[in-house]
Amino acid sequence: MILERFSMLGIAVVAVGASTVLYTNVAARTVRALPTGLARRVRPALWIAPAALVVSVVLIYPAGATVVLSMFDADGGGFVGLRNYTDLLSKPSTLVALRNSLMWVIGLPLLGAVLGLIVAVLTDRVRYGPWVKAALFVPIAVSAVATAVIWRFFYEYKPAGTAQTGTLNELVTRLGVGPVPWLIDGWVNNPALIATAVWTQTGLCAVIFAAALRGVSVDLYEAASLDGASPWHQFRHITLPLIWPTVVVVLTTMAVIALKAFDVIYVMTNGSYDTDVLATLMYKELFSARDDGRSGALATLLMLSVAPIVWFNVRHYRSSLRGMR
C-alpha cells in the first residue's frame, strides 16, 4: 500500500515535470513561429494560461459554485434566494460567531504584530538575536492540533483546593486568585483561544519584521543619535515609517489567518461555551447538519469578509512596487 503510494508520487512528480517541459517548449516554438505583432499579443496569454487554468479549476469555480449553492436549500434542490442568509443572521449562534470572528480579526493581528515587532526590535543586531528568533519561530512548525493539545494542558482547570495540573492555573492560584476555567468562562475563553494562535504566529511576525529591520540603514540611526534622538524617537520616526509596508503586510496576513481560524477552536472547545467562529460554524453546517445551502452561505460570508483585506493588500503591494521604481 505504501509502496503503491510512493510509486504514484513518483509518477506524479515525473508527469508534472514532463508536461511542464513539454508545454514550455511547444509554447516557445509557437510564439517563435508567429509573426512579431501577433506573437507579442499571444505570448503573455500562453504563459498565463496554465496558471489561469489551475486557478479557475481549484479556486474560481468552487468559489462561484459555493455562492450559487448558498442560494439553494440543504441538498441543493430548490432555489431559496437569500433565505439561508436571513435564517443564519437571525440565529443567536451566528451572531455570537460573528462577534467572535471580529474579536479574532482584531486580536490576533494586533497582538501578533505588536509582540512580533517588540521581539524583532529588541533582538535586532544583538548577539543572541538569532537564537531568540529561532526559539520563537519553532511554534509555527508545530501542527495546530498539537498546539491546541499542549495549550489545553496549559489551561487545565481543577477545582479550587485541589492540586492544579494546568500551568496557568497553578500560577494564578499562587498569586492568590482562584483557578480560572480559561476555556469555559465566557469572558476569558475567546481571548484564551486567540492567545494560543498568537503563540503560533508571533515568531513568524518577528522573523518578517527582523528581515525588514535589516533593510533600514544603520547610518540613519547614527545620524539620529548624533542629533540627540532617544531610542523611542528613533523607533517612532525612523524604524516604524521605514518598515510600515511590512507592518501592513503582517497585519493583513494575520487578519486572514484569524478569519480562517478553525483547528485550534475545533480541538480546544469545538465551539462550546460561545467560542464558535464563522469557520467552525460552517464546518458544523456542512458535516453535521449536512446543509449545503447554509454552509455555502457561511463560506460566502467568510469570503466576503476576507475580500476587503485581500483587496487592500494587493493595492498596497502595487503602490509599494510603484514606490520602488
Binding site: M1, V149, E156, P159, I184, K284, S288, A289
Partner: protein, 452 residues
C-alpha cells in the same frame, strides 16, 4: 508508562475521542490477549467458508474509527480471515469519520465497508440509497439466527437492513471502588441510590464522579445517561419514537430525564469538584478521584469500557477487588430491567466478493467468539458462548444483558448528527446552568425541526 506519556495519551484522547459509548477513545487491555488457538483455527475455517471455499485474494477497503490498541484488537479478529482467504483488509481509521465518509460517498468513491458507531449517519446514507441491503448479502436466515430482532431493527430502515452489529458496549453501569464505597451495590431503585448519595453529600463527601469533556464530542457522557434514563423512565416505545424524531424535545418525559440526570450534579456537593471541573475534565479521568487515600467521590456512571480506562490509568489496581460495577437500578417500576447499549455496525457500500466475504465472516459466530475473547467488547452474536468472555467485567455484562427484559441501542448514536451534536451540547449547557432547562431544550428542539 511515565506520567508525561500518560498525560499525552489523555491529551490525544481528548482530541481524538469522537463518539458516545459506541467505543472508548483509548483503552486498554485486559489480560486476555492470547486467543485460544482452537477459536482462531475455527475462525479460519469460517473465513474460508465465507470466501466461498477458496483463497480468492484481492483486497477490501474498510473505513472505521478505531486506532491504537482498540484497532490492534479488531485487527486480531480480522487476521484469521486474511490468512485463510488471502484477502488483504485495508483498514482506514479516522476520528473524523462522518466528514470523511460523507465526502467519499459524495465523491463517488465510498469505502467498500464501514465499521462504525455512527449508526444514525449510516441510516441517513441508507435513506439516500447509498448503502447495500445486507438482507440480500447475508440472507434473512443468517441475520435472524445471529442477532436479536431489536438489533436487526436498529440497523434497518423501512426498506433495507443497512448494517450488522459487530461489537457492543453495555451502558448504564455504576463503577465504584469496593475498598471505599459504602453504599448499596444492589440498589432496588434509582431513588434508593440517590437517597444514599444525598446523605453522603450531607456529610460533606461527594458521592458522584462526573466529567464531561471529550474534545469535539464533549457532553456525550451526560447525553448518554439522559438517553438511557429516557429509555428506562419513559419506556422503549417512547424511546423509539423519540429517536425517530417524532417527539418534541420539550416533552415532559425528556425534561424529566434531564432533571433525573441533574440529581447527580445539581444539588450542592453531589458531584466531585465544581461545575467547571465537571465540564472541563476529560471523561476518561472521571474515576481518578475514586482511588487514593481519601477518595474524592465514589460512583461514576459509564459503559463497560470504563474498566479498560481505569486499568490504563491505574495499572496497579486489581479488577473486581479494586474496581467493579453494578448496573444502574430501575428508574421506573413500569419499565423494569431494561438496558441501553451502544455498538459498531458493519455497513456495505460496494459489493465485491471480498467485501461480501468479510461481512459474512464478521457476522459469523466464530468471529464473534474472537471479539468476545479480545476482552474489550461484547459480541452481538447471540450464538456466541458466554464462556468466551474471559474478562470478568464483560462476563458480568453479558449476564446482565442476557437477564434483561430487553436491550435497546441508545438514541444518540441513531439520530442525525446535527441533532446528536445539539444533544451532546445540551448536556454541557444543562450542567452549567440547570435553571435554564427550558431554553436548552428549545435549542435541541430547533435542531430536531431543522433535521426533519
Amino acid at each position: 508508562m511515565s506520567e508525561v506519556m500518560k498525560g499525552l495519551g489523555a491529551g490525544l484522547a481528548v482530541v481524538l475521542s469522537v463518539t458516545a459509548i459506541g467505543h472508548s477513545a483509548w483503552a486498554t487491555t485486559s489480560e486476555s490477549n492470547g486467543t485460544a488457538p482452537d477459536s482462531t483455527s475455527a475462525a479460519r475455517v469460517a473465513a474460508l467458508e465465507a470466501a466461498g471455499g477458496s483463497e480468492i485474494g484481492g483486497s477490501v477497503n474498510v473505513m472505521g474509527v478505531l486506532g491504537g490498541e482498540e484497532l490492534d484488537d479488531f485487527l486480531a479478529v480480522i487476521e484469521p480471515f486474511e490468512e485463510a482467504t488471502g484477502i488483504d483488509v485495508e483498514y482506514e481509521g479516522t476520528r473524523d469519520f462522518g466528514a470523511v465518509l460523507q465526502t467519499r460517498v459524495d465523491g463517488g468513491n465510498p469505502p467498500e465497508l464501514a465499521v462504525t458507531p455512527a449508526i444514525g449517519l449510516i441510516a441517513e446514507l441508507a435513506d439516500e440509497g447509498e448503502v447495500i441491503d445486507l438482507r440480500g448479502v447475508l440472507g434473512d436466515e443468517v441475520l435472524e439466527a445471529s442477532f436479536d430482532p431489536g438489533l436487526i431493527a436498529t440497523a434497518s430502515n423501512d426498506e433495507i437492513v443497512f448494517g450488522a452489529f459487530n461489537t457492543i458496549n453495555l451502558g448504564g453501569l455504576m463503577w465504584y471502588n469496593p475498598q471505599a464505597y459504602d453504599g448499596p451495590t444492589e440498589p432496588a431503585s434509582w431513588d434508593e441510590l440517590i437517597e444514599w448519595a444525598t446523605s453522603k453529600a450531607a456529610e460533606g463527601e461527594s458521592p458522584f464522579c462526573v466529567t464531561l469533556e471529550s474534545g469535539a464530542a464533549s457532553g456525550w457522557p451526560a447525553a448518554d445517561f439522559i438517553d438511557e434514563i429516557v429509555l428506562r423512565q419513559a419506556g422503549p416505545e417512547f424511546h423509539t419514537r423519540w429517536r425517530n424524531l417524532e417527539v418534541e424535545w420539550t416533552a415532559p418525559e425528556i425534561r424529566q430525564a434531564y432533571e433525573t440526570y441533574g440529581q447527580m450534579i445539581t444539588p450542592q456537593g453531589m458531584a466531585f469538584g465544581d461545575v467547571n471541573s465537571v465540564l472541563g475534565t476529560n471523561f476518561a479521568n472521571a474515576a481518578d478521584p475514586m482511588f487514593g487515600d481519601e477518595p474524592g467521590c465514589f460512583l461514576t456512571q459509564q459503559a463497560t469500557f470504563m474498566g479498560g480506562i481505569i486499568a490504563g490509568n491505574f495499572p496497579d489496581l486489581t479488577p473486581v477487588d479494586d474496581y467493579d460495577f453494578f448496573a444502574v437500578p430501575d428508574f421506573s417500576t413500569e419499565f423494569p430491567n431494561l438496558r441501553g447499549i451502544g455498538g459498531e455496525i458493519v455497513a456495505m457500500f460496494e459489493e465485491t466478493p471480498q467485501s461480501v466475504a468479510l461481512t459474512e465472516y464478521l457476522v459469523s459466530v466464530e468471529a464473534g467468539t474472537l471479539i468476545a475473547e479480545t476482552g474489550r467488547w461484547l459480541s452481538p452474536n447471540r450464538q456466541v458462548d458466554s464462556s468466551s468472555y474471559i474478562d470478568p467485567f464483560l462476563s458480568k455484562a453479558s449476564v446482565i444483558l442476557q437477564e434483561s427484559e430487553g436491550s435497546y441501542n441508545l438514541a444518540n448514536s441513531l439520530m442525525p448528527q446535527s441533532v446528536v451534536d445539539a444533544f451532546w451540547h445540551s448536556g454541557l449547557e444543562y450542567t452549567q446552568d440547570p435553571d435554564n432547562l427550558d431554553e436548552i431544550l428549545a435549542t435541541v428542539e430547533a435542531a430536531r425541526q431543522d433535521a426533519l
